[in-house]
């Protein structure tokens, strides 16, 4: 997608974050809660898709290289976290280390980690960090 979609993505993401903050401050009637949450989730996914799939201003093969690297790091991290989660679950089943509530929380986190949307968000965050780091290094060593 062209670069202008990235600008749109940032606008939507900012709107979602501000609206979440505002909604946390004010109570909404129960019947509206689910609808608002769903709309916000959809907007969040749309913004992340726009940000993740739109081109940079100067998109070239190095940017593609960073994208590829980010995907590999994101997928690798998810597998490592899943393995750690599985070990924690196994230990808990054997020795009962965590309370029922704690285990429910761990299971919830594991379900979140292994979802596709988390993988995509992680890819996007890692890509931005790599891009920023390279930009910072190249700026300090500008010739």
């Amino acid at each position: 997608m062209p670069h202008r979609y990235q600008v749109l993505g940032w606008y939507i993401l900012t709107f979602v974050l501000i609206s979440v903050f505002v909604l946390c401050l004010y109570d909404t009637p129960f019947s509206w809660n689910n609808i608002i949450e769903t709309v916000e989730m959809i907007l969040l996914y749309v913004s992340v898709i726009l940000l993740g799939f739109s081109k940079e201003r100067n998109e070239d093969e190095f940017t593609m290289h960073l994208r590829m690297k980010s995907i590999v790091i994101a997928v690798g991290s998810i597998f490592i976290l899943s393995i750690i989660g599985a070990i924690v679950q196994c230990i808990d089943h054997s020795f009962g280390l965590f309370s029922e509530k704690g285990m429910l929380m761990i299971n919830g986190i594991l379900t979140g980690i292994t979802s596709m949307s988390f993988a995509f968000v992680l890819y996007f965050v890692i890509f931005r960090i790599l891009l920023f780091n390279n930009w910072k290094r190249s700026r300090t060593n500008e010739e």
Binding site: T63, N141, E143
Partner: protein, 69 residues
Amino acid sequence: MKNNIRVERAILRISQQQLANAIGVSRQTVFAIENNKFIPSTELALKLSEYFSKTVNELFQLDDARDEQ
């Protein structure tokens, strides 16, 4: 893989930005190539070779440590 891009650029007295504009990439890409953080594609290597009027072999060399392996 190592390269002489920085040296060749110094000979021509051009900035990273000027080189980046000439070969159609970002300045960050030129920086990454010069610092061996990124190995360019054949297409980009040929563009660099054409720009500096040098062969690709003169611009890019295999690392000695890698050759020994």
